[in-house]
């Protein structure tokens, strides 16, 4: 029994890390900027498409550079793409943040409407540029295929993806908790007027956070692309669990999002194995169960109504 359960626990853990990765950029923007970025899913998709272009056979680079690029082994191109594609999506993030500036300090619904519009524009632009067909992101042989453990065949890529998710989560935590930039970001979220009074340029701070959030969305898109496939509306598949994870974890809580991601992964993984018809619903039931007894989510700030 335990031996049968173990693979599903491992699967739940890896899935949980992927859910946490998907939610990370969304959480950062909601937690620090108090903005619901409905374009998160589209930026997730855009990351996958940009990576596809860079790793694919016809990169949009000057002729000489393109030849050099294509001469490199797939592993190196893939590794560089993991850095380059989020940077490209980060540029889109800068443009979106510039548009969002008029909504700062106003009802968050304005920001929500704006990012909804941006999401539509990005998704339709993807359709125009790449069409509606599906694509597969090539991955280096070292992280492709399967391996045998516990008498079962496992996907090597899935463990690689979970490891990257853990790494990105760790790096983001280090940035926020262990660097002066992180201290300023947290201070800006807690008391923006005081931060401004200290002479810190708040608009640059917001821009940096938003761009970081969009880059994290792009990283998640690249990592999930070989598992989910690449198609224009793949962002919709990402934004819903991202939203659920941050509500479950508590709005603005870093470790809340990570813990919630792991919980969702575990619940979805186990229900997929033992009551498969509940596997999609299980995450919503988990949310209802947690929010019913703890309205602010697992690690959310206490509301004055609960005082």
């Amino acid at each position: 029994m335990v031996f049968n359960l173990l693979p599903h626990l491992i699967n739940g853990l890896t899935l949980g890390l992927l859910f946490a990765l998907i939610a990370l950029g969304f959480m950062l923007i909601v937690g620090v900027m108090e903005q619901i970025n409905l374009a998160h899913g589209s930026l997730f998709a855009l990351g996958a498409y940009v990576a596809l272009v860079l790793v694919g056979p016809k990169p949009p680079l000057p002729l000489g550079i393109a030849e050099w690029w294509l001469a490199q082994p797939l592993g190196l191109r893939y590794a560089l793409t993991l850095a380059l594609a989020p940077a490209v999506v980060g540029l889109v993030g800068i443009a979106v943040e510039l548009l969002m500036r008029r909504t700062y300090g106003k009802d968050p619904l304005f920001g929500l409407l704006l990012t909804f519009g941006v999401a539509m524009v990005i998704e339709e632009s993807i359709r125009l540029i790449w069409g509606t067909r599906d694509y597969v992101l090539p991955t280096p042989p070292a992280i492709s295929g399967g391996f045998i453990a516990l008498d079962l065949i496992w996907s090597a890529y899935r463990f690689y993806a979970a490891a990257i998710a853990a790494l990105v989560i760790g790096l983001t935590w280090l940035l926020i908790e262990k660097t002066p930039y992180g201290s300023i970001i947290k201070a800006g979220a807690h008391d923006s007027e005081m931060v401004r009074a200290l002479g810190i340029d708040l608009s640059k701070l917001r821009s940096a956070v938003f761009v970081l959030g969009t880059m994290l969305a792009a990283v998640a898109g690249i990592i999930l692309a070989p598992i989910w496939g690449i198609r224009p509306h793949m962002g919709v598949d990402a934004v819903v669990p991202a939203f659920l994870v941050i509500v479950l974890g508590g709005v603005g809580s870093f470790w809340g999002a990570v813990a919630a991601g792991l919980m969702v992964g575990m619940v979805v993984g186990l229900s997929g194995a033992y009551a498969s018809e509940w596997s999609m619903l299980s995450m919503y039931l988990l949310l209802v169960a947690v929010v019913t007894v703890r309205a602010r989510g697992l690690f959310g700030k206490k509301s004055i109504l609960e005082a």
């Binding site: 049968n4 693979p7 599903h8 699967n11 899935l15 909601v30 937690g31 108090e34 619901i36 409905l38 700062y104 300090g105 968050p108 619904l109 929500l112 909804f116 509606t132 067909r133 599906d134 694509y135 597969v136 492709s144 295929g145 399967g146 079962l152 065949i153 496992w154 996907s155 890529y157 800006g188 008391d191 923006s192 007027e193 708040l202 070989p226 598992i227 989910w228 496939g229 198609r231 509306h233 598949d237 941050i246 509500v247 709005v251 979805v268 993984g269 186990l270 997929g272 194995a273 498969s276 018809e277 596997s279 999609m280 619903l281 929010v291 602010r296 989510g297 959310g300 700030k301 509301s303």
Partner: protein, 428 residues
Amino acid sequence: MSKRGFTRRRLLQGSAVGTALAGAGAFFGPWAHNRAYAQSKPIKLGLTCDASGQYGNSGQDDLRGIKIAIEEFNAKGGVLGRKIEWITADTETNPATGTRIAERFIREDCSILIGALHSGVANAITQVANKHGTIYLNTNSSAPSEAGENCSRIKFVWDGNGTNFAKAAVRSAVKDIGKNWLLLTNDYVWGHTTSAATKTEVEAAGGRVVDNLLVPQNTRDFTAYLLKIQQIKPDVIAAAVGGDDVKALRAQVAQLKLDDKPAWINNQQDWPDIWGQPESLFGVFGTNWYHKLALPGVPEFVATWKKMAGAGAIPVPGNVSYNGYMATRELLRAIERAGSVNNIKIIKALEGHKMPAADRMQDFDAYIDANTHQVQQTIYLARRNPKPSDDTDHYEILSRTTPEEALDTASAAKCKLVPYEQVPTVDA
């Protein structure tokens, strides 16, 4: 930035607005019976095709085929001297949206509705069409229930259904591969009815179903299922999973190299679900048409389709676009045969209509079953082509089953068509 906290409550308020923006909610419009439209006006068709959701890609391929048939008729002057107009809207792979759009199209004077991939959407549109007597062509939803318990006098079903494909595939697989079968079932009408048909065929052939794993719609991660399958160790997996779900499934099965053992029988594979991912194509699967069939008329149709389809994502037609085209073409021909745009006369012109194999670009003659309104036609089994002749040649056709051999008798027993007198009349 203010000091005001960004609360969970505000986040949930925001999400509610987001959901509303996404178009949730259905509007049920006024009911009306016995309509007549001005006979000098163009005939207006409502094309109920998905552009988003699980079958968004296939819905647009369906639309291409429908539009080409309309364009061909308009090029020769329309039907009965009247031009054909069409409008379309995204049914979102969502039954509630299907209901809303069908109601809207009928309010906007569409006298015939065409298009479907998802059986839930098809059934929702049927309910609306039934109230108004509006003819509805279910072009591509292949749930056996569409020509069974959910059949209708006003609806015609053009794709092969899950039972047809199961009949073509299961018996020989039980004999040649093994008796222990596991069902992988998309958790909605098509998946359930198709897996039920497969189970019947497996048991009739002396096999047994060891488990049935339900796959909720929009599942993107199949690892839990694939681990479970390895633990159960069936001889054969019969998958009734469609749309974007099956694309993700195929990619993950191919990644693990689980595509050889156990054996996979994928009830039906739609061309838009395969295009772009041929490397993940595995197992044996069903289809009712392929663009490389060595039959008269196929190359000409493919050439015309390529010229008229416009900047479509898929460079050659597949079964989905073919069904959209054939359904629309046969409807317009039926109007010509009937010499009338009266719905009852058109229905009678379609019922029992025989379609020669050469005309349908299939191996065997087809016909519209007068008792179920399903097109009984050739069913092909195929697998990934090991020696493709070009970069669109993804299938190797393994077998051709006659309509009689693949006949879905179970659905016929469940289908009860209402008498003509009970159908509200519509003059297009």
